[in-house]
Structures are given as structure tokens and as C-alpha cells.
């Protein structure tokens, strides 16, 4: 069986040790494992063929998602499922999915015009982030309405969340199937590159984390949680995170991919299927 990992160019360009180990484990079980970095090649749209048995989407770039979308419409199997990945990249949609699933998340707004936030900013501290993206890039904290004036007007809509005061540290939760792990690290824009300290997580966080996977249709995913005064809040969700600091991560990921490839379990995407779309032609 052929597995193909769609990965991202790393800086510096050394392969992720967890992935290298997972590839090795999968090969020992008889899988052929390939990978590519979409950013390093020129792709002819007509050349994209779903000739692998399963694609594993590790990269979060627009290009990789675009290719994954084509593979999906051509009938390829993807892990995580393509519609789940596409939805998870859009923080507006994620916020709505979490809300519908009754998962605690901060109050969230969307706007393209920062000046509309003055009233909100005078009532509460805000976190502003791009509506598409991951890894904490472009996150700004607004402590005072005057901070808004200093910000440059966004080209794209932004997500605005109520700032939840926590311990100053992010709880990163990594999930493989129904196995849930927590690591703690100080918050920063570059914290994704820093391995955290493994921490015990509460039954409540464990339960929330599993419900996030169900709500978003993900099996390999991570979430950022802030433990506020009134309990844990989910502030971000990502598909296939780095699993840095998670003991034995490579083996668990390999086991999960193996099980999914063999059809032992399925993931259900919340995405409205295009086929569901009402055909106007009739």
C-alpha cells in the first residue's frame, strides 16, 4: 500500500524526526512511504492524479491544501479528511463548529474594519488574529482601544476573540485518535518550534479535546487551551500538529495511520459535501 505525505519545507531544512521515525515504522509494516514539498515543485493542474492509496496532509500551506482539494475531488483518500482540513484552516468556521458542539471557546467576532472594535476594546482585552492561518502568526493583543489606531488595516478579515487571562502559558493538547496529551509552554509567536513540558491534563480537558475532534472531523490534531478562571477554553485548533514533546509520538502516529489505512475506523467531516449543494439546474 502506498502512503504519501504532503509536508512543508522546514527551516532549517531538516526532516522532522517524528515523521522520519513514523515513516520507518510504516515501512517496516510493509507500506511504501513517499513525501513531497509542494512549494519546491511546479505542478501542472492536469497532471495531478490520485495514484497513491492514501495521502497524509501534514502541510498547512495554501498550495498543499489546493492540491489536496484536487486529489479529494478525484477520489483520493486523505488523512485527515480533506474537508476537515479545509474547514480547520478557517478560524471563523472552527469557532462556529465549536459553538455548535457546545465546546467552551472565547466570544468571537469577525471584521474587516478594525475601527469597529473600539467599543469592544473599551470593555475587554482582545486577541486579534488572521482568520486563516496557524502557528500563532500575526496574533496581536489589544489592551486598550488606542492600540487599534496603531495597527495597520488588514487585507483580509480578522478573528477577534475575548482575551482570557490564563497562567501566561499555553496548554497545547495533541491528539492521536482518542489518545490525548498535554504539553505546556510559554506563549509566543514562535512557540510552535519549542518543545513543551509534558503535563497531566484533567478529565475535563481530555473530554473537550475528544469532542473537538468529533466536531471538526479530525483524528490527528492539536488544540490550544487556556485555563481561565471559569474553566478551560479552546482558542485554536490545527490538523496534524508537530507533536513536539509528546512521548512515543512517532509510534502512535504510525499506528493511527496504519489503522486508518486498513479501514479500522473512519472520520466524519462536518463539511457540507458539494453534492449536497442544491443543483440549481432543473
Amino acid at each position: 500500500m502506498k502512503l504519501f505525505f504532503m509536508v512543508v519545507r522546514r527551516v532549517p531544512p531538516v526532516p522532522s524526526p517524528i515523521l522520519v521515525e513514523a515513516y520507518d515504522l510504516l515501512r517496516k509494516r510493509g507500506y511504501e512511504v513517499g513525501e513531497s514539498i509542494a512549494e519546491e515543485v511546479l505542478t501542472g493542474c492536469d497532471e495531478i492524479e490520485a495514484d497513491q492509496d492514501m495521502y497524509i496532509l501534514k502541510s498547512h500551506t495554501e498550495l498543499s491544501l489546493g492540491l489536496a482539494g484536487v486529489l479529494y475531488t478525484r477520489g483520493a483518500r486523505l488523512l485527515n479528511p480533506y474537508p476537515s482540513c479545509a474547514l480547520t484552516q478557517n478560524k471563523i468556521i472552527v469557532s462556529r463548529l465549536l459553538r455548535e458542539a457546545g465546546i467552551p471557546a472565547p466570544s468571537t467576532w469577525v471584521t474587516g474594519d478594525l475601527s469597529l472594535l473600539k467599543d469592544l476594546a473599551s470593555k475587554m482585552q482582545l486577541i486579534i488574529k488572521p482568520y486563516m492561518g496557524h502557528r500563532g502568526a500575526g496574533i496581536v493583543k489589544v489592551n486598550h482601544p488606542d492600540d487599534l489606531a496603531a495597527m495597520t488595516a488588514p487585507d483580509y478579515p480578522v478573528i477577534v476573540q475575548e482575551f482570557i487571562p490564563g497562567s501566561g502559558e499555553d496548554l497545547k493538547v495533541y491528539v492521536v485518535g482518542d489518545q490525548v496529551f498535554g504539553v505546556q509552554k510559554p506563549f509566543s509567536e514562535t512557540s510552535f518550534a519549542v518543545p513543551g513540558r509534558p503535563v497531566d491534563i484533567s478529565e475535563e480537558v481530555r473530554d473537550i479535546s475528544r469532542r473537538v475532534g468529533k466536531a471538526c472531523g479530525l483524528g490527528l490534531y492539536g488544540l490550544d487551551i487556556i485555563e481561565g478562571p471559569s474553566g478551560p477554553f479552546v482558542v485554536d485548533v490545527n490538523y496534524f500538529p508537530g507533536y513536539k514533546g509528546v512521548p512515543d509520538a512517532a509510534r502512535m502516529i504510525a499506528d493511527y495511520i496504519d489503522g486508518y489505512a486498513q479501514g479500522e475506523f473512519e472520520l466524519k467531516s462536518p463539511a457540507p459535501e458539494p453534492a449536497r449543494a442544491e443543483a440549481a439546474a432543473d
Binding site: V41, C45, D46, T73, N90, V110, P272, A280
Partner: protein
């Protein structure tokens, strides 16, 4: 019934005349028609609820699409359907869907950096377009040399290129509203209002067939196509959901009829 038009705020006097007529026509039939501007709204995601019987997704801006995405999850009726609009916005996916439907389109490529396209220039010029969004020719460039390519570099995360086919004469726009097809010839780039209105032309049987194929591929019958005629072949270079229908005579009334039919269908 209540109809919400998801659009962008236009400078006074720049509103699309077709949509103004649609609003008038629908009002005459007893429907209310309001514009929604996601761009300059503050949307509380906890409070998004379906307030209209039908949403018309006219704008293709990130804010409009994001708003429509939330409405779609909530179960709103959107024209065209949100998942189809997203497929059409994704040029890679759209070009592949059209190719699979045997629609003739220029060869298409994607890369993260325009410089990756340089080997392709040996076989002729390319048209470079923004990957997502972009309409009315914004950001479209014809590239003939590596120097021109270098000047683009990697302005965006993602670059989309099509093989350039030298058009014979003006650009051909085809619009479809239900079963009605319209052809408009237009100079590119359009500078004056007269340019934009273009000139109606009679569709050839081949063009009619191409148009139907494109709609069937996406399962919709409200859209516009850009066609380039080159070496006697008709290439579909772009497909647009909810275009402006400029130059289509009676477009306002036809659109209002179409929307009324959609409303009637939903009510039944």
C-alpha cells in the same frame, strides 16, 4: 420573502445597475431585498443567524466568503451554493473540474513562486492570475519573458498560471441565467462604460455546448464564462459565479425571474 444580497459597498453612483433593477423587480413582486456588507460589519459569531429566506452571494471577497461559510453551516439557502462557489474560487480545483468535464481550457499550473514557471516560457507566454479571488481582470498579467516573471517573484503564497492563447478579436463573455445564454464581446482591459457594456453577439452552437458543459460540471445554471477564441478553438479561461451581467439586455428582469423561481422551489 426576504432576500439578502451579500455584496461590497460601492462608491455612490457605482452600484451595479443590474442589481438595482433586480431589487426593484423583486420589490414589485412583494419580496424584500436588502444589501449586507460583511466587509464593514462586525459579526458576532455567537449571534449569526439566518435572517433571510435566500442569500445572494454576489461578492467574492474573503470577508463575504467567510460570512457565507458561517451562514452555510447554519443551514442558510445561498445562491450560488456556498460549496460550489468555493470550488469555483479555487482556480486549481476549478480548472481540474472543467478539464474532467471535457471543457477545453488552457494548460494550467500552480507554484508557490512565479519563478518556478520560467521553464514554461520556452513554449510561449503565460497568463498569471491570483490563485484565490480576483475578478474583473484584477491582478491578471501576460508574461512573456523571464525578466517579467522575476518582477513578480513570490508576491503571494500561491501563483496560478495559464498558457496564453492570443485572442482573435475581443474577449468573449458568456452569461447564463437559467436556460438563457447570452454572449457579450468586450475589449480588454475595459476602460469606459461603453467598453464594459460591450456588444452582444450570437453564440455559436459550439459555445452553447461549452457553456452547458461548464454549468453541469458544477451543478449550477447562474454564472459567467470568459472565453478566448484562438486558432479557431474556444478556450474557457475563467468561470465566475454571479457576474455583473453587464451588457445583457433585460438582465435585471431575467435575474428577478430566476430568483423568484428559486424562492418558489424552496417554498414548495
Amino acid at each position: 420573502m426576504k432576500i439578502g444580497l451579500i455584496t461590497t459597498r460601492k462608491a455612490p453612483g457605482r452600484e451595479g445597475s443590474v442589481m438595482i433593477e433586480v431589487a426593484d423587480q423583486l420589490a414589485h413582486r412583494g419580496h424584500s431585498f436588502e444589501s449586507i456588507y460583511p466587509e464593514d460589519s462586525l459579526i458576532d459569531l455567537a449571534r449569526v443567524k439566518i435572517e433571510y429566506d435566500l442569500y445572494l452571494l454576489k461578492a467574492g471577497t474573503p470577508a463575504a466568503l467567510a460570512y457565507a461559510g458561517v451562514l452555510d453551516l447554519a443551514g442558510a439557502r445561498i445562491l450560488n451554493p456556498y460549496p460550489v462557489v468555493m470550488q469555483m474560487k479555487d482556480k486549481v480545483l476549478a480548472s481540474r473540474i472543467l478539464a474532467d468535464a471535457s471543457v477545453l481550457a488552457p494548460e494550467a499550473f500552480i507554484a508557490s513562486d512565479a519563478r518556478h514557471f520560467s521553464p514554461l516560457l520556452a513554449e510561449g507566454p503565460l497568463v498569471i492570475k491570483p490563485y484565490l479571488g480576483g475578478s474583473q481582470g484584477r491582478g491578471v498579467q501576460i508574461i512573456r519573458t523571464i525578466v517579467e516573471l522575476d518582477s513578480i517573484g513570490s508576491e503571494q503564497d500561491l501563483m496560478f498560471a495559464q498558457r496564453y492563447h492570443q485572442p482573435e478579436g475581443r474577449d468573449h463573455k458568456i452569461y447564463r441565467i437559467g436556460d438563457e445564454l447570452f454572449g457579450v464581446r468586450r475589449v480588454w482591459p475595459a476602460r469606459t462604460l461603453e467598453d464594459k457594456l460591450g456588444e452582444p453577439f450570437e453564440l455559436t452552437p459550439a459555445m452553447k455546448q461549452i457553456t452547458t458543459l461548464c454549468g453541469d460540471a458544477f451543478g449550477i445554471d447562474l454564472y459567467g464564462l470568459d472565453i478566448v477564441v484562438s486558432d479557431d478553438r474556444e478556450y474557457v479561461v475563467d468561470i465566475n459565479t454571479f457576474p455583473g451581467f453587464k451588457g445583457v439586455s433585460g438582465a435585471g428582469r431575467l435575474l428577478a425571474d430566476y430568483i423568484t423561481r428559486v424562492l418558489d422551489r424552496q417554498g414548495s
